[in-house]
Each structure stands twice: as structure tokens, then as C-alpha cells.
Symmetry: C2
Subunit: 180 residues, 2 copies
């Protein structure tokens, strides 16, 4: 399957980002989104984002896991980000994730009992009940996080996967929880 | 700044993914890429990826942090992924990341000494010396990881940020390290 992608890449004649583009995002913006396949070719154009505009962090369920936190810390302190958008989407696979089914599948495919027992799989996978509530909670966690500074604006959005339309859930909340 | 994006979204008339698109990626593929702003509008078309084709996971430096591992576990066991591409890019901000500078900036912007001391910042931020070596190491970590099954193919690529051209570093390595 990689060969198909490599053939596409050979034919690709990109315009690139232009000479002024750098690792510092032009809009001083980071977007925390979901890894969902339906956001490919949709998320960026639907938000009007072009090459060089914004940092994009993606994981299962657009949650603030250690990787997202680490990435936001680098984005804010090293890359000049002062605004963060958390964006969920409709029909997210992490809403109502069946952790017992996941556990059975992992065991059936050879993951050892001992490795699985060392993990609180429910907490670790970070599933949630509902997409909108998850976005609000992730925004709160970012706003209050002691590793982030006080002067970052955080927004919460929800995207309809079928159309790319977004709805604002949280607008411009400033970070500044307890820092100790 | 959010208002500009919302205005763009109002004007956006996306084609969406079509009726057959679901959370299950059509190519059974997950891509682990960097959050770099210059990959916006570049990574997906340069690999010929369209809406619904692949899971996209993004973090600082395309490393296997807890968030990426969690996302890959969900992608493989719950969403039918059997092939993983780790893709680095030229001029990555995580190559040669200055952790002491990061620490000074965090302290200067109000992060508490006590919070910072509780963290091994160098290990936590996951910086590396060089992009290509990093991709090879991340592929190895995935291939050997005890939470992943034996029958997943892992590739390692490097993208030139200016042109979108990719080079293959690791081709189709099968997972199957020690599972205990």
C-alpha cells in the first residue's frame, strides 16, 4: 500500500509554503484535533488554514494526553503560540469507546496478560461519553494547567464531519489557573 | 483571530467524505507525523491522501509518546489499521531543541519551580539530534512495543518541507518484538 502513496508523491508538485514560512506558525495558533480519517482534507480547508499558518496536534479524541500537553508546551514557549483551538467532531470513535472489547481484542492478538494488567486501560485510553462535553473538559484542563502560562486564549469548537461546519462551544477563555 | 477562521468556515462548502466514509480508515492506515505548521495543506496531498483514507496522529517531533501510543492502540484494535507510516520532516523544531532555554522561558512566564522540578524536562519533551535517526528509532519502538500485535507493517519516511517530496527510510518492517 505504501507504493501507491509513493507513486502519488512522485506525481505531487506542491507549491510548498513559500519562502517566508518557518516552523513559527504565522497565526500564532495551535489546533488540537482528532486523528479521525474523515478530517483528512477537511479540517484545514474548513478552517481556512494554509501551509505555515498553525500547529496541528492530533490524537484519539482530541484530549489533553501527555503527548498533547508536551506538544502544546513546545508550541507555546518555543514557537510563539498564544491561541489554542480544541476541536472535536461529530460521530467520534472515542465517544462510547468499548474498553472491554478493546481488552479482548488485545488479548486475542497476543498482548500479554501481565502487560495489560499493569495498565488501567479505561483511564489510559481516555474515552468519553459525548463529544461536546469532552471539548469543554479539555479546554478547562488546558486553561488550568500549571505547565502553561497565563496569557494564552483557548477556544472550543465542534465540527460536523459530514459538512465541515463548526460550532463555537467555548470562546476565548484565558489561561490562568493556579500555577502552584 | 478565531473570528477570521469562523468567517472562513461560513464560506466553506466542503464536499465532505461522501456517504461511504466512516471512522474506519479506507486504507487501513495510520500516519504518525509532526505538528509543524508547514505540513498544513502539504502532508495529505503530498501523500495522495483524501478524506476517509487514513488516521492522522500529530505531535511535536512525530515521536511515540503516550498519546501517540494510545492513539495507535485504538487505531489498530478498534479501527482496523494494519499499516503505520512514521513520517519526519526536514528542519524539525524538535531536532536540537534547547531544553534549558525552554526551562528559562517557562519560569519567566510563571510556571512554578516546584512543578518544573517534578519533571525531567529533557526526557519529557522528547527532543532529538537529527530527524532521520529519530524516524528510525520511532519505527523500532513501534515494531517492538508489547501493546501492539504482531502483524502490523511499519514504514519510516522523511518529507522535505519545501517540496513535499518523501524519501523512504524504513520499508514494511513487521511488528513482532517480544510480547512479554
Amino acid at each position: 500500500m505504501l507504493d501507491v502513496l509513493l507513486a502519488a508523491n512522485k506525481k505531487f508538485v506542491g507549491e510548498g509554503c513559500g519562502v517566508d514560512a518557518s516552523k513559527y506558525p504565522r497565526l500564532h495558533l495551535a489546533v488540537l484535533a482528532c486523528m479521525d480519517a474523515r478530517l483528512v482534507g477537511l479540517l484545514e480547508p474548513a478552517l481556512g488554514l494554509s501551509c505555515g499558518d498553525a500547529i496541528i496536534i492530533k490524537n484519539a479524541g482530541n484530549v489533553l494526553d501527555e503527548g498533547a500537553l508536551r506538544s502544546l508546551v513546545v508550541a507555546v514557549y518555543q514557537l510563539g503560540v498564544d491561541e489554542i483551538i480544541v476541536i472535536g467532531h461529530s460521530d467520534c470513535g472515542m465517544a462510547g469507546l468499548d474498553v472491554e472489547e478493546l481488552r479482548r481484542r488485545m488479548l486475542a492478538r497476543g498482548v500479554s496478560d501481565r502487560v495489560l494488567e499493569s495498565l488501567n486501560l479505561t483511564a489510559w485510553t481516555g474515552g468519553f461519553e459525548e463529544e461536546e462535553e469532552n471539548v469543554r473538559r479539555v479546554v478547562e484542563k488546558i486553561v488550568e494547567h500549571p505547565l502553561l502560562p497565563r496569557d494564552v486564549k483557548v477556544h472550543g469548537l465542534l465540527m460536523e464531519t459530514g459538512t465541515g461546519r463548526v460550532r463555537v462551544l467555548v470562546y476565548g477563555k484565558e489561561t490562568g489557573g493556579k500555577k502552584v
